[in-house]
């Protein structure tokens, strides 16, 4: 190699890690075209980065111990019990989700192990995978009849629903459908962005008033799910998109739902 290399080790690392400005990246890429040995080093760094992520990412999908979830909540005296009640409501509802109503959904290949308990987040991921992949009939009622859709689903869930408007984050409402739940049905709202990527929001009414809210993340069969409970409902936002993006959309949805519950008469 030439003795007057224009690139330092730091340049190569920062470039491989995507930590340089687009301008600098273009300049470095141009230099690398003339330095195959350096280009190979960059490729090697990126290969090892990908390998490390493959090795360590599965840890993110593990179930969180309840002690840690508890420790992540504000340590206010007297609140812990209430928060736990919220989580156990969700957990109880989740474990009940292996209902007869869901049975027909679970025939598919997605549920490979018979008898696997179906959690709320898993139900959300399965439901998303089933309908989001359906090019022609992902929903029962399309977004052009949004008002009718929301009215119908609200009636079936016995709860005033609100379909969040996600246009500001690039996702337009496709429509919605009723999905099987355990004792009560659930509502699914489907959204799509300009790249035809779909995300879906599953809403399920839980039995008791819990009035507690927390975000949790799960990955089920490659589908990312953020789920939370808000007052009497469980919500799960599922999609095959970047996790950070999904979280920011979940925040938007959460904020709108919270606002609509604060003012039930308000229209979106």
């Amino acid at each position: 190699m030439s003795s007057a290399l224009p690139l330092t080790d730091d340049d190569l690392n920062a470039y491989a890690d995507g930590q340089v400005t687009p301008e600098r990246a273009r300049a470095i890429a141009a230099l690398l075209e003339r330095e195959p040995a350096l280009a190979a080093r960059v490729a090697e760094i990126r290969r090892v980065n990908a390998l490390l992520r493959d090795a360590l990412d599965p840890w993110l999908a593990e179930a969180l111990p309840r002690e840690l979830v508890d420790a992540a909540q504000a340590p206010r005296r007297g609140r812990r019990g209430a928060r736990w009640a919220a989580w156990s409501t969700l957990a109880a509802a989740a474990s009940l989700a292996v209902g007869v109503g869901l049975g027909w959904l679970l025939r598919g290949e997605l549920l490979t192990e018979a008898g696997t308990p179906v959690t709320f987040q898993r139900q959300a991921a399965i439901t998303h995978a089933l309908y989001a992949s359906d090019a022609n009939r992902p929903v029962e009622i399309w977004a052009n009849e949004e008002e009718r859709l929301v009215r119908w689903l609200s009636k079936r869930l016995s709860f005033q629903l609100h379909a969040p408007n996600l246009n500001d984050v690039g996702f337009a409402l496709v429509g919605g459908r009723l999905v099987a739940g355990n004792e009560k049905p659930g509502a699914l709202f489907m959204y799509e962005n300009a790249d035809k990527q779909r995300i879906s929001l599953l809403v399920r009414k839980d039995g008791e008033h819990s009035r507690e809210t927390a975000f949790r993340y799960a990955q089920e069969d490659g589908v990312s799910v953020f789920y939370w409970i808000d007052d009497v409902c469980g919500y799960a936002l599922s999609g095959n998109i970047d996790k950070a993006q999904l979280l920011s959309i979940a925040r938007v949805a959460y904020g709108q739902i919270a606002a609509s519950e604060a003012a039930p008469a308000a229209k979106p």
Partner: protein
């Protein structure tokens, strides 16, 4: 200044905190204890968190400090036994993958390799490659100048390169 931390963000950060704790401690159980201590400290120090700033980087910083304190206590306790930086944590690591046998070997190998890095270098590598933190954020997490981060990262990668060159098969990407 912030009166409270955003619960949803804190919960969303939990899996990553757990993961980094495993990288720091090399032990699944000790890792969860470290996460718990970190969360407790975060709530104590919540007024120091700047609302709107990256909560995850702030939490990593707290975790780094909590771990460093505990580590130095442990080191004093075990003053007689020598700690060889080249034999970093590995014993408690599990390969948490649903993968074919070959993949598991591949993924185990990369974990074994990074386990042999000195702690500082392994931490920088994971924060840069896996957590994809910016170098200046990593510098804040470790409490060192950014130049130190760059040189640790470079040494970590040099060493990985040498170690994998000593092996019969090169590291391959899984998937």
């Amino acid at each position: 200044m912030s009166e409270t931390l955003p619960d949803p963000d804190l919960l969303a950060a939990l899996p990553r905190l757990r993961r980094y704790a495993r990288v720091l401690t090399g032990d699944v159980n000790r890792a969860d204890d470290l996460v718990q201590d970190t969360l407790a400290r975060a709530w104590e120090k919540r007024r120091l968190w700047q609302a709107g700033s990256d909560l995850r980087a702030w939490l990593f910083t707290i975790m780094h400090n909590v771990h460093a304190n505990q580590h130095s206590v442990r080191r004093r306790e075990q003053a007689e036994s020598s700690l060889d930086a080249d034999h970093g944590p590995v014993a408690g690591w599990e390969i948490p993958v649903r993968a074919s046998h070959d993949d598991r070997v591949e993924l185990s190998e990369v974990l074994l390799l990074i386990a042999r890095l000195p702690n500082d270098q392994r931490e920088v590598l994971v924060l840069a490659a896996v957590e994809e933190l910016r170098y200046d954020e990593i510098a804040r997490v470790q409490g060192v100048p950014i130049g130190t981060v760059m040189s640790r990262l470079n040494r970590a990668r040099e060493k990985l390169r040498r170690m994998s060159a000593d092996r019969p098969a090169p590291l391959k990407v899984v998937r």
